[in-house]
């Protein structure tokens, strides 16, 4: 698939955001901090916008979203490959 191929090519220094299964309780802190990366459904659960890749411009917002989540439901993997 195209996206996989592109991912493969850019992986080494690309940051990715992940949601830890079942931890989100709908505080919506991430949505307020980085509305370009996160949304939530009507039950409050976080929804990633896009495929989880974080552009360099969005990296600082992604870091803040992780640090402010009281449930520690977000993980940011910065660079270094898979």
């Amino acid at each position: 698939m195209l996206s996989v191929a592109r991912q493969g090519a850019r992986m080494p220094d690309e940051a990715r955001i992940e949601v830890v299964e079942d931890r989100c309780q709908g505080h919506s802190r991430c949505v307020a901090i980085a509305p370009d990366l996160f949304d939530c459904d009507e039950l409050g659960n976080v929804v990633l916008l896009g495929d989880g890749r974080v552009s360099p411009e969005a990296l600082e917002r992604a870091r803040l979203a992780v640090l402010n989540c009281p449930e520690r439901a977000l993980v940011l993997r910065e660079g270094g490959g898979a």
Partner: protein, 402 residues
């Protein structure tokens, strides 16, 4: 009721003691250093008080050991417990009753309530702004959530006075006076039972919604609906009233923060406003909950027997220096702030989006019209007693310039 003053806060704490009411932060800070899980036998079966973020977290997540069947600490336990689902529910029942309540309090649903909230705040503030003094708690803060809750529930705003009376009886006076607490809970039940019976169904308020919704394929029964409405009323008014009042108190006493926040609102700097609001929520989180230990356990070297209670103080966790450097200093630009003002885990405050919207709107409208104000010298500020903290008398002098 007169109680002996606390001498040893580590073994005999009392969250209704005047010293706690006046300044709990100093007490928590001292306890965190000397005895991070304090205890008292002043309430039936004993109560533990963790003041560290990590311990509060561990308890909130361990729902099998720490049950929500009782969430208020009283001199004598009410038997049987008075369920107010889903806040008093444990897994697995919890989910069925909580899920249908989430959509009406989602970010998007709450955003639709903002114009109503703004108009209500403007009406309230316009009635005050030309005076020389006012009471920020009595004449402003308390009316905001009452108006919004009445609007949401589809009941007249004039019923707000009764709500406030019942809430004080249930949560404050009712700590030491169980008959009074029970009377208030029954009065609220009777009020909502009548509203539910009278609801024709199909209305677009919350009562109509609860009558129609079918979680897991079956409708909610009437007793559950009444209990849910009682919970929403109790949880939605006192708490937000306290948060708005505490913020006004802070802004009245911290001129730099007042001007910084007013400027952020004026400039439409959403990021700065959000960061500031979260910091105020951290520092002045109004709500502590309780849990009941339902199986013997040990935490931090403290043996906790089944039947004992835990005062789960999210406000104390928010002042833990391990997580928040200089925790007693309000820094409106605190960027790293995983505060737990709305709790943690499956009982995350259902109304957190609503509370934030009300708090933000109430402060925005107030600061736009009354940018300069201070405490009235010599007139005392009084604070609520118990597990919801906020000013109940907040005499303010309005300095003009608006």
């Amino acid at each position: 009721m007169s109680r002996s003053p606390v001498e040893d806060w580590t073994t005999d704490f009392d969250h209704t003691d005047p010293r706690w009411t006046a300044d709990p932060y100093t007490l928590w800070s001292e306890l965190r250093r000397t005895c991070p899980i304090a205890h008292t036998d002043r309430f039936q079966d004993g109560v533990w008080l963790p003041t560290r973020y990590a311990d509060v977290r561990a308890i909130a997540y361990d729902t099998e050991t720490f049950s929500s069947r009782r969430v208020v600490i009283r001199d004598r336990k009410i038997e049987p417990p008075h369920p107010a689902p889903p806040i008093t529910s444990d897994p697995p029942d919890h989910k069925r009753l909580r899920l249908p309540l989430l959509p009406p309090f989602s970010l998007r649903s709450v955003a639709k309530l903002e114009p109503f909230t703004r108009a209500a705040c403007e009406e309230l503030v316009n009635a005050l702004a030309d005076g020389e003094t006012c009471d920020g708690a009595q004449q402003y803060a308390q009316h905001v959530p009452v108006r919004v809750m009445c609007h949401l529930l589809g009941v007249p705003a004039s019923d707000g006075e009764r709500f406030r009376h019942w809430i004080t009886e249930a949560l404050q006076e009712g700590i030491h006076d169980m008959p009074r607490a029970l009377r208030a809970l029954q009065a609220i039940n009777a009020y909502f039972r009548e509203k539910v019976e009278a609801c024709p169904g199909g209305t677009d308020d919350l009562i109509g919604y609860l009558l129609a919704v079918e979680p897991e394929g079956r409708k909610l029964d009437r007793d559950d609906i009444v209990a849910i409405l009682r919970l929403l009323m109790i949880a939605g008014i006192d708490t937000t009233w306290s948060a708005i009042g505490s913020c006004l108190w802070h802004l009245a006493t911290h001129v730099d923060d007042r001007r910084t926040l007013a400027a952020a609102f004026r400039d439409g700097d959403t990021r700065a406003v959000d960061t500031a609001i979260e910091e105020l929520l951290r520092a002045y989180a109004p709500v502590a909950m309780a849990r009941e230990v339902v199986r013997d356990t040990e935490l931090g070297g403290c043996p906790m027997k089944a039947g004992s209670m835990v005062l789960l103080s999210f406000p104390a966790a928010n002042r833990d220096p391990e997580v928040f450097p200089d925790p007693d200093v309000v820094r409106l630009d605190r960027a790293e702030n995983p505060h737990v003002a709305f709790g943690l885990g499956i009982h995350r405050c259902l109304g957190s989006n609503l509370a934030r919207m009300e708090l933000r709107t109430a402060l925005d409208v107030w600061l736009a019209r009354i940018p300069e104000f201070e405490l009235v010298p010599g007139e005392p500020v009084t604070w609520s007693e118990g597990t919801v903290r906020g000013p109940r008398r907040l005499p303010l002098r309005l300095l003009g310039g608006g």
